[in-house]
Structure formats: C-alpha cells, structure tokens
Subunit: 229 residues, 4 copies
Amino acid sequence: MTADPGIARREGVPLPATEDVAWDKAAASIVRAGRRMDERGWVPATAGNLSVRLADGRIAVTRSGGHKGFLTTDSVIEVNLNGQPLHEGDRPSAETLLHCQIYGHFPDAGAVLHGHSVASTVLSMTSDDAALHLENYEVLKVFEGQTTHATRLAVPMFANDQNIPRLSRSVALYLDETKAGYIIRGHGVYVWGPDMAIALARLEGLEFLLSCELERRKLLSAIPVRDVT
Amino acid sequence: MTADPGIARREGVPLPATEDVAWDKAAASIVRAGRRMDERGWVPATAGNLSVRLADGRIAVTRSGGHKGFLTTDSVIEVNLNGQPLHEGDRPSAETLLHCQIYGHFPDAGAVLHGHSVASTVLSMTSDDAALHLENYEVLKVFEGQTTHATRLAVPMFANDQNIPRLSRSVALYLDETKAGYIIRGHGVYVWGPDMAIALARLEGLEFLLSCELERRKLLSAIPVRDVT
Amino acid sequence: MTADPGIARREGVPLPATEDVAWDKAAASIVRAGRRMDERGWVPATAGNLSVRLADGRIAVTRSGGHKGFLTTDSVIEVNLNGQPLHEGDRPSAETLLHCQIYGHFPDAGAVLHGHSVASTVLSMTSDDAALHLENYEVLKVFEGQTTHATRLAVPMFANDQNIPRLSRSVALYLDETKAGYIIRGHGVYVWGPDMAIALARLEGLEFLLSCELERRKLLSAIPVRDVT
Amino acid sequence: MTADPGIARREGVPLPATEDVAWDKAAASIVRAGRRMDERGWVPATAGNLSVRLADGRIAVTRSGGHKGFLTTDSVIEVNLNGQPLHEGDRPSAETLLHCQIYGHFPDAGAVLHGHSVASTVLSMTSDDAALHLENYEVLKVFEGQTTHATRLAVPMFANDQNIPRLSRSVALYLDETKAGYIIRGHGVYVWGPDMAIALARLEGLEFLLSCELERRKLLSAIPVRDVT
C-alpha cells in the first residue's frame, strides 16, 4: 500500500482509516451503475458516461473510451466544474462538459447518467418535434416534483453536435424546464438526480416510457386505413 | 443479536429458534420475487409492489419508495387489512390498499403482485375497451379454475386514479369475475394467488399473454389494405 | 444415504459408485436445460416440459406443474413409452405422451423439448396455413440432414387440443417429414434431437428463425400502400 | 501436468512459467467473447465463430460445431492464414476462411467476430440494396477512423453461399471500403478490430445500429396512408 491514493483506489482493496472512503464509494457506485446500464443494453460499444458529485463538491466521472459495462474504480477520474481533469494524464470524455453543466446549473444534482438506447435513438431520429411529450403514465411520478400520472412532461430533443460547448449552449436554454431529462438526437439521453440511486431510477423510468412511446407509434399502423384521397 | 425483531430480520442472519421464522420466510419470498420481476423489467424505477399474507393472517408488504429489484428484508413491513402500518414510522405505499382489498375479498389469497410492463401500459393506453380479452391460449390454464385453452378470459382495465380508495371502489365491482388479474391503465397489472409461487406464475402467464396480444396488434398492419372508401 | 434411489437423487449429493449415475446425469441435463429455456422466456408460468431418453431406454421427464426454470432433480420422474409413471404417486404432465410419441417414432431421439415463445404463439394464431415455411436461413443447417441455407423447411402447425391422444394422432401423420420440429397453435413448439445438447441447439435455432419470421411480417406493413381497389 | 500443451490449455489450470501464456490469453478472450455474444442472443444454436491473431502471427479460431456460448479453451484451435488446422484431427468451420481473409487483408486486424442476430438477418433478407447505409448515429464513432456522427457508412450485404472460397471472392472486392463490418444475407455479420475488446465493441455498435434500423423500418408504416392510386 503506497501513499498514492490513485493506486490505493483499486476495487476490493480494504482501505486504511485515513484513505479516501468517500471517493471510493462514489467510484464503486459508478462501476455498479455501469453494469446495470449494460445489462439493459444502454451502454453499447464504448458509448455512455456516468458521474457523481461528492458531498465535498468533487466530481467523479468515467474516463474517455472504455466500455461502461466493465468499469473498474480506475476508470473513474476527477474533474473540476469546467470539465478539466485534476490529475495529469487523465482524459475525460468530451461530453464531460454536459455532466458539469448540470452540476453547475442544479446545486442539488449529485449524479448524472448518459446512456444510448434503441428507443431514444429511434424516436429522436424519426420525429421533427422539439420535444417528446410523455403524458398520463404512472411512472412519471419518479421525476422531480411529480405527484400524479395526470400530467404531461416534455423531454427536449437537441440536434447532435460534436462541438460540445456549442451543444451545451442549446441545452442551457431548456434546463430549467427539463423535468425528465433530455435527448440528443441519434445519441442518447441525459438524466440526473440528487444521488446515484435516484438518477438510476429516473433513467430506468425515462427509458421505460420511451419504450412505451416507441411501441405506441408502431401500433398506429394497426388502425385500418379508411380515409384516403 | 438484540431483542428487537426488526434488527433480527436482516437477510442472511441465522435466527434462534424463538424468532419469527414465518415472517422471515415471507419477507425472503418477497425479496426473491422482486428480483425476478426486475429481471423481466417489471419494476422499473421505484414502481411496483409485492405482498404476502402469512398463515396467521399478518400481511407483509413492500415499503413505499425504494427499488423493488433490490429489496432487503428491511424493505418489508407489516400492515393490517386496512393498509395501516403496525410499527410506528413504517410507510406503506398508497397502493397497499389494493393489496389489502384482495386479501379482504378472497379468503384464499396468499400473495399479491403489482408490476409495470411495456405491454400492459401500451395495450391499456391504446384501447378504449373495458377489458382485454385473452382467448385460445394454452397459458390461460395457469389461472384459477382454468382447465383448457378453449376459453376466453377478460382482464378488466380501470382508469388510473391517484385517489386509491376511489380506484378500489371501481375495482370492487369486478373482482368476483376477475380470473387473470386486472390492469390499471398506464400503470400496470395486479395479479394474485394462494401463495407467492402461484402468484408469480400467474404474473408471468399474464405478462406473456399481454406480450402476445401486443405483437398480434402490430401484425394487424401487415394485412395489405385493399378496401378503402 | 438410504437404499432408495429416489431419495439419493437429490442434486448436489455425492453418489456412491453403485448409484444411478446415468439417471443423475440425465436429470441434471434437464434441470440445466430448464434454466436455459427460462433465461430466454420459453417456459413462462408453469408451461413447457423437457425429457431425455437414457442409453438403456429409460425415459426421464419433468413432473406435471412446477416451474420449468426452477427444476431440481426431484422434478424429474421416469415414465414408460406409453407415458405412464413407473413410481407410484408420480404425476407426469398430460403432454408426456407427445414426448413418448417422438421416442417411439424415432429410434435415435434422445431428448425432447417443449417450450412456449411469443413468436411461436403469435405466428401460429395469426396464420391459417398448415405449416410455417422457413427458407434461405443459414441457421436451417442446425436441423437434421440440412447442409445448406438454400432450402425450405416446413414447420407443421396443429390445432391445440386438450385431448392429447387425439392431438398425437394428428401429429403422427406428419412426423416423418418434420425436420425442424412442430408447433401447436397458441401453445408452443416441440423439438427433438439425439441428445440434450443438440435438442437445445435446435430449439434455439427454431426460436431464432420464428423471431425472424415475426419481424419480417411486421415489416410487410412498411411497404407504402399504392394498389387499392 | 503433461508435456502436451493441448491438455495443459484447460481453462483454470495454473500454467508453469514455460507454458504458452499468449495462447491461453487468446483462447480465454475467445471464451469470454462467446459468452458475451450468447448473452445478447448472437450465437443461436451452433452458429457464429470467433478468432484472434496473436502477436506472433498465430491464428486461434473456434472449432467447427459446438455452441459458441459454452466454449472452453479446448474449443479453440490453431489455423494458418489459409484456414488449415495445424494439429491433426482439428476441424475448423468452413467459414474460417473468412476470418483468415481479414487477417490477410488487414495487417492490423487482431480479432474477427461472426454472429447472427435477428436484426441483421431480417434487414438483409428484406432489402435488395447492395448495402445498408447507417447515417447520423453517434455510435458510428466506434468504427475505425470515424470521429463524428455526421457521416454515412455502408455495410455491404453479400448473398449467402455454401461455397466459402467463392463468397470470399465477392467480399474481397469490398473489403477496402468496409468500415463497419459486412453482412451475409440471412446469415449474419462479420466485424473485426485490432484486438478482441475493440472487435467486441464494434460488434455491439453494429448490432445496436442494426436494431435501430429495424425499428425505424417498422415505424414507416405508422405514417397514415393518404396518397393512393
């Protein structure tokens, strides 16, 4: 066991009382969440990223590249609110800025999850609407401030853009009214919450509802065509 | 090991001969059923709830909130037939009343399961019918009193309602004729049986049949449209 | 350890050299196959059944009832070629006759699997054809005697019937020409092979192809309707 | 431990320092990849095959037959660049030639994966196009040389052919421009990369995109038909 906390952060190594327990718990929750997302098929190839903001304000985020279903605590690095890594040689994903944007905008945000699903990809690429509207589902109650199914939440959809700072400026215009996360077209969803458990529950809730929406659209064609010109 | 049965009920702790073995078995069956439902995607976010009625009449039900795929025996609390918790500080879900309604109505009911599936959600939100009709499926034989596929069972569908007592009054009108469980639109299914194993089998059977129904409706559009006005 | 081989057959109990090793291997292969089928969703509720014919001619089949995904070696009983149990008190499923029919008809048959899938259920209930025709798939090579994709196999579909002897008489007419198994409408598939590994591979192959067929039929509606009368 | 490296290659057997560590790592990566592909349903029946090229140029490939989800290191044999086995009695699949073709054509190729999915099978059998075109997906960035979603990759589709040398001559014409793998109609995909991890990531990426394409085609029918002649 060396004095280097980086080496000490290996998963499964028992930590002496002076080590970074808070960091290790955060990293471990990211590793577990990545496995959960992988079981659902939401982190295909090396897509997706996950982050947690610790109580002391530090931000833990997944490194660039690497499969998010097979993370180890070494896959988790620290960045500041501008998305810059604190340790030399660490490379965060370009999308880290989108995680930091949420932490900067919402003081209570404690975890941010980004995944790719077939439902979010297909719905966002086959609709020109500015947002998907989810209405009347009981599962809407998993999102912040929602206490009934009898409501209608908008999930904004933004054009994909490899220029992440530019993309984040589009997102910024809608963050205040975003209750259920947002979608980047052909790219996936961003969901957050006060901690990892709630963020994961909201991601599950959103993906469940997107699957329902996709199935409903496939049923539209089951209506016999009677009106034609 | 203390004298507090609440603390003694931790999963995996060997119990002295005087402890509440019946309760622990009931709680453990709920934990396992929650995992099974989660594997199938039937308890997304913090949705769903599970209960068991013990031989001595006590009712064990899942606490409000919390993910039903990751239950521990601490997640299981006791309520009376009116859905009120027996231990101070315990908070049951509002839907506990629907579980208790089944125990009150059916003397032989020993377990009640409530899950959310894409199929039940989509079918109930795209049909105005008062019930889904399942006909000619061999799997219908898993439901009470059914001995042949050559039958037709109705699965009543009720409008969702955050006022659970009011919702239960609608349900009460149809319980006697409900053989395969019922659906709350956009909310999920309620299924029961004399014990957890049979309740789980019936939940699986119903969800299997709802998946078949959803697929059949998607095939309707495969019929070339030839008659138009 | 008693002299009763029935009690000695508990899974995980080490067997003395004189015990029924062949039976235990057969029972264990059935337990594993049941888990595999359950992972794929092919044994919902208590549906499905599995059997193996040992080298000495004995037939091991799953008991009536019970979930086929959670079998133990106690779930496996012996029957004769007429489907009758050899031990008093053992109750085989009524469908055991369909397993025995295959063993009687095909001297090389060593394992028979019956599962329920959404694809086989939906395809068989939405088509009036006497058989499903599978053509040009590479996976057709997993069936007996097939060496190319450039072929067309018929999967006969029989009306469901609670009178199993009567159903088996319909099946008997087509067994010789059945290369990829058969379907009972709204009830599921029957597949067999010289041993459990090949039977499982053929079941997987058939279900894969049925899934492909179901998806193709859903795509039919993607063709813009231009010809109408 | 004998002198026969074949017997020494059993998974889980600790190897003395003089044994073939590089081979064992390659074989183990093939076994793990087969399990991963099986979890996703991409190696149904005994379909699919996997290979790795070691740093010293040796090619390790899965034997003919056998279920690719249940491989052991004994399932992995050595072949030369012409697809011929190095050890007497070893039987490689006929498709081994397609793996070797990639190793011969691309000096940097280190792993080749061939799987069968419902999406690739159905899309390739319901389209007469010479290739599938994938456009605007973020996940396209997992393929070689791709740095943006704003691109369009062609996935060539070749007619199936039991004469593998003849099939490989068709493939040879398109290999240089193949960035995301290729499809054999009704047969599955071929994907490769500099090592197993990247090959697996690209296979996942391609299958994710094919699933998106299949869902999009099913949505086409959701557009109300208004123009008819």
